[in-house]
């Protein structure tokens, strides 16, 4: 990983990019690179992730919610896969250490536990409560307990999208590559 410097940054290098701006060196086949898309993906990726979190948080009253937030976050990963992956989609797997099925499992568990918790307090299953409090600078904040359910769905959807990218994205590319290498090997 390039982003973990173990020495202090020299003073004249403090504003240099902490890691390579392009995903150079990670695409074996230079012809498959699209410079413009890589650059755009680099800028858009964090932005879209933040936007997905926004959608997740406002979902109770505004348009958004766990599912759409998760899908938007998933789209960020799809964009990155298309731009940076090219022929090597392992990129996403390398950066994200958690396996996609585990993400799906955790998301589902969070959602189901959220459904069950109210029953422990004698309320109906899936009942929700509002918690309002005042924060300095931010003003009055109201959090609904069903946000936890949304977070579970959010994680689940991201996990599903990542799993799709792994199996149908890089998996298909790997199959295709192996098929062509088999053919050339046979010939």
């Amino acid at each position: 990983m390039t982003a973990t410097p173990d020495t202090r940054v020299p003073w004249d290098r403090w504003d240099a990019p902490a890691e390579d701006w392009m995903l150079s060196g990670e695409c074996p086949a230079g012809t498959e690179r699209t410079l413009l898309l890589e650059l755009a993906a680099r800028i858009l990726f964090p932005t879209v992730l933040v936007f997905s979190l926004y959608l997740l948080l406002v979902g109770h009253y505004g348009p958004g919610g766990g599912f759409s937030g998760g899908l938007v976050a998933g789209l960020a990963f799809v964009l990155r896969h298309i731009a940076g992956g090219g022929s090597d989609g392992a990129q996403i797997g390398a950066r994200i250490k958690v396996r996609p099925p585990v993400l799906v499992g955790i998301g589902l568990a969070v959602a189901v536990v959220t459904a069950l918790v109210p029953a422990a307090f004698g309320a109906p299953v899936l009942a929700s409560v509002k918690v309002g409090f005042h924060l300095p600078l931010l003003g009055d904040i109201e959090i609904v307990s069903s946000l936890a359910l949304d977070i579970g769905v959010y994680l689940l959807i991201i996990g599903v999208v990542l799993d799709l990218l792994r199996s149908l994205g890089s998996g298909i590319e790997r199959d295709a590559r192996e098929a062509t290498s088999d053919q050339t090997g046979a010939a």
Partner: protein, 160 residues
């Protein structure tokens, strides 16, 4: 009881007919498109069930709900959209698997049905039992279908 605008009814009708037509095709990709189109049609129908479009949403604090949009069909359609999304990805994966395994993504006939039909006609015409056990003993019926086709054998990988 809500009345339906003619344009919307026509759109639903077109979506349903296109969807079912595609659903009846052999190629799984067309079936997939059919499912998507049909899903859109069903969701549109679900939306129309909630009343005419363009109404304001339910507002907090107001008690007069007469002119407001019915939120329930929207919630139902949202759920249905999620389900259609899942089915679409599943069908894509299935189509790809089929392409890897048998070289195409066409929905095939059932071999056992054909075998029984053939046995019946031969028996009727010749008056004696057709003996063609050799090719079917032990071999799973239907796998002969694959042997007719050029099998594009790519390594399967460990995907789900």
């Amino acid at each position: 009881m809500t009345t339906l605008s003619l344009a919307m009814a026509a759109v639903v009708a077109v979506l349903y007919s296109v969807g079912f037509y595609l659903l009846l095709q052999r190629s799984l990709m067309r079936v997939l498109l059919g499912v998507v189109v049909l899903g859109h049609g069903a969701n549109l129908l679900l939306q129309l069930a909630g009343g005419p479009p363009g109404r304001p949403p339910i507002l907090d604090g107001s008690t007069d709900t007469a002119g407001m949009a019915d939120p329930l069909p929207q919630a139902l359609a949202l759920t249905a959209v999620v389900i259609t999304f899942a089915m679409t990805t599943y069908l894509l994966a299935l189509g790809y698997r089929s392409w890897v395994l048998v070289g195409h993504d066409e929905v095939q006939d059932d071999l056992e049905d054909r075998r029984i039909a053939r046995r019946r006609t031969v028996k009727a015409s010749m008056g004696e039992e057709l003996v063609d056990r050799g090719d079917e003993a032990g071999v799973d019926p239907g796998s002969a279908a694959a042997s007719d086709d050029p099998v594009a054998q790519a390594p399967a990988g460990d995907r789900t």
